[in-house]
């Protein structure tokens, strides 16, 4: 009885499920291709939008420090310089702290503390960038201009080379402040990545090292770090990718001046900050708007390279 119920359904059902499978398979594959097209059209759109600027200024666009809307002359050198300098400075500040946090959370902290502290650090990454901008502008900038910058400038005054490096009026804003805010923003990304890769080290390796009498730090230096080296660098590159394109936080505190600053307290700009600030004042179809889109294209190329390297290094071990 029960067999006769099951039997007839097979042929009719099989045909229906084949069509269902074909439709579903096509739909998800199409969605995958859509994502490829999305990134492809993003690149093409920025390039086409920037084409008039590339044509007007040629390769000199990348090396020119001019930004003169009145004369209609634009160059990308200052924002590119600002983007790279702030991001690298931010990395220098963020990497040691992020490493310390990841080391503490994986090897040192008592078990019950790891989850809440880890979550708190991750929440730091969830705070919107505009909030970092406001906090930087209203809290860090006054601190910098009243206490930190005057004392540092005084300390290095009279020492050749270094006095230029830390020169300038203590406005509080500038490249160093922007880098500091960026560092706070990327610490959680780097720390979380490092923590996750540290946890992939097989316990046997670490136990063997402890067994021959290594201290915690020696285990970290001689076992964990060599084992995870590539992924750690990948995590740092991920943080760098974030820092390069950060807009709102930097716009608030960098001082927004189109000049290559030799002092790290000097004002500057980044690609993202100049786009955010100058865009509202650009006419549709103007050479200025095209220059901003060209800057966007350059930023995309830089971030793409950094993120691609990061992905490559963060690939799971194939073993």
């Amino acid at each position: 009885m029960s067999q006769s119920i099951a039997a007839p359904s097979t042929t009719a059902h099989r045909a229906g499920s084949n069509i269902g499978d074909a439709i579903f398979g096509f739909a998800v594959r199409a969605a995958g291709v859509f994502v490829l097209l999305l990134l492809g059209s993003l690149i093409v759109t920025l390039f086409i939008g920037g084409l008039p600027a590339f044509k007007a200024f040629g390769l000199g666009f990348v090396f020119s420090t001019d930004w003169d809307p009145v004369q209609d002359v634009f160059g990308a050198a200052v924002p590119i310089y600002g983007t790279l300098v702030t991001s690298v400075l931010a990395l220098i500040m963020a990497v040691p702290l992020a490493f310390g946090i990841a080391f503490y959370l994986t090897e040192l902290a008592p078990m019950w503390i790891r989850r809440p502290v880890g979550t708190a650090i991750e929440l730091l990454a969830a705070v919107p960038s505009i909030i970092y901008g406001m906090w930087g502008f209203f809290v860090i900038v006054p601190l910098m201009s009243q206490y930190i910058q005057p004392s540092v400038i005084d300390t290095f005054d009279g020492i050749p080379v270094l006095q230029d490096f830390f020169a300038g009026p203590p406005f509080g804003t500038g490249i160093f402040t922007a880098a500091l805010i960026l560092a706070v923003m990327i610490i959680p990304f780097i720390a979380a990545t490092m923590r996750d890769v540290f946890l992939t080290v097989p316990a046997v390796f670490k136990e063997s090292a402890y067994g021959v009498g290594c201290t915690t730090w020696e285990v970290m230096r001689a076992i964990v770090l060599p084992y995870t080296r590539a992924s750690v660098v990948g995590g740092i590159m991920l943080g760098l990718g974030r820092a390069l394109g950060e807009t709102m936080a930097v716009t608030f505190v960098i001082g927004n001046t189109n000049r290559i600053a030799t002092s790290i307290f000097g004002p500057g700009n980044t690609i993202a900050s100049i786009v955010a600030l100058e865009f509202p004042e650009s006419q549709a179809g103007s050479l200025k708007l095209s220059s901003l889109l060209a800057l966007g294209f350059i930023l995309f190329v830089i971030s793409f390279i950094v993120l691609a390297i990061s992905r490559l290094l963060l690939r799971p071990r194939s073993k």
Binding site: P96, A98, I130, F300
Partner: protein
Amino acid sequence: MSGAAATADLRPGPAKDERVAKALGSRRKRANMIVQVLCILATVIGLLFLAAILFTLIYRGFAGLHLSVFTEVTKPPGSGGGLLNPIVGSLIQTAIGTAIGTPIGLMVGTYLAEYAAGSALGNAVRFVSDVLLSAPSILIGLFIYELAVAPFGGFSGIAGAIALAVIVIPIVVRTTEDMLNLIPTALREAAVALGAPKWKMIVLICYRAAKDGILTGVLLAVARVAGETAPLLFTSLGNLNWSVALNRPMASLPVTIYQYAGAAYEDWVELAWVGALLITFGVLALNIVARLVLRNRN
């Protein structure tokens, strides 16, 4: 006496000399101690940053948190007003952006987990999605400006929602793929053995088993786009008047905060802090809820 000397000779290296061995040991311990203290210090500094930001938000924003913030629209400086239109605008754009981005992200994640194992197309899609995940959001704003603002002659709420959708997609892709990969193969085999076609296996078995994880991804995506400013600057622009029309410029909380915080009027700056307080605690609450959803499952 001679026995002790014999065992000392058997020991290798510097340990032969008791004093050298002790000095070396205490040096290693000291280095370990210093690093441990530095690591605790780094963690404390990280936590202090979070505490400082939250404290500043409460200190500067809590005083201005009246009912009028939620009931009145933005007004010219000096005449009070609230944040009703930015709040509603943010809700609308975030909701539409999530509604557009989630199904696409879900399908891409399904493709990567269920169909693309080892294929070149799958690897390309995974790579591109991960690049989109970390791509500067201001570029997504420029992209949507060229695509959905410039050709149609004006900033619009729907353009803002589309820009947010582009940010939602890769977040949902990542969590969906990860969560589907966690589902045991035995569960799939059981479904297939009963004669279920692949799509039914995915929709009825895998999606149900991964429900909490996928929901977490969507919540994290909402939390991320709710605070985004840069992509909205060039798409929905912001609007100081009440407007919920999708084809007109639309206010949003982050853009209003940006405009107000940089203004010279004290009441605008105060409202900016109130908005900052609302958005930060909203976003952090969403993040915590998302974590709780995932933890309940385990």
